[in-house]
Amino acid sequence: EAEVAQSPRYKITEKSQAVAFWCDPISGHATLYWYRQILGQGPELLVQFQDESVVDDSQLPKDRFSAERLKGVDSTLKIQPAELGDSAMYLCASSDEHGTSGRVEQFFGPGTRLTVL
């Protein structure tokens, strides 16, 4: 069964360092989402891509976070510099071409657990 792949699964870094997370969505899924989930809370959308274009990045802290999906397939989320408050689970999800209508489910990867020391 097709799955969303994410790496690394765990990342420990010191504050002020740069970190990057990678996501490979299910083949053929045009819509890709990055979420941040703080322990004990629900996921919060950081950025949504439709193919290679950003659809929604209103909650992305653009002073330190960046995301790209250059060829409309896999995606990278970067944080530079990392802060203590960035410690969280970073989840990637994808949905098919009708995902922008909000009518279909999102498929989630296993997430990257980030700890900033």
Binding site: Q41, G42, P43, L45, S95, S101, Q106, G111
Partner: protein, 112 residues
């Protein structure tokens, strides 16, 4: 910002009992979805109910939606230890582009 408020925050029951979780939201929606998350893992889609539907079933799951009260409930019947997880409701706002807004979640523990 999160739209959904879930109730209760935590629920502990015995195997075989039913578990009910509630979700309230603020804005008009296209659909509402429920997801499960096992500890430290990604989320798994359980069920989707559209704004023009009132009730939906999938196996041991029953979801209701009351758009006049902006609320939904998830019922898990005959619970099993394997149902132990966190459950999240997520709304797709009718004015939006596929974005889901998640609630805070309900942590369910099913004791064997």
């Amino acid at each position: 910002s999160q739209q959904g408020e879930e109730d209760p925050q935590a629920l502990s029951i015995q195997e075989g009992e039913n578990a009910t979780m509630n979700c309230s939201y603020k804005t008009s929606i296209n659909n509402l979805q429920w997801y499960r998350q096992n500890s430290g893992r990604g989320l798994v889609h359980l069920i989707l109910i559209r704004s023009n539907e009132r009730e939906k079933h999938s196996g041991r799951l029953r979801v209701t939606l009351d758009t006049s009260k902006k609320s939904s409930s998830l019922l898990i019947t005959a619970s099993r230890a394997a149902d132990t997880a966190s459950y999240f409701c997520a709304t797709a706002p009718s004015s939006n582009t596929g974005k889901l807004i998640f609630g805070q979640g309900t942590t369910l523990q099913v004791k064997p």
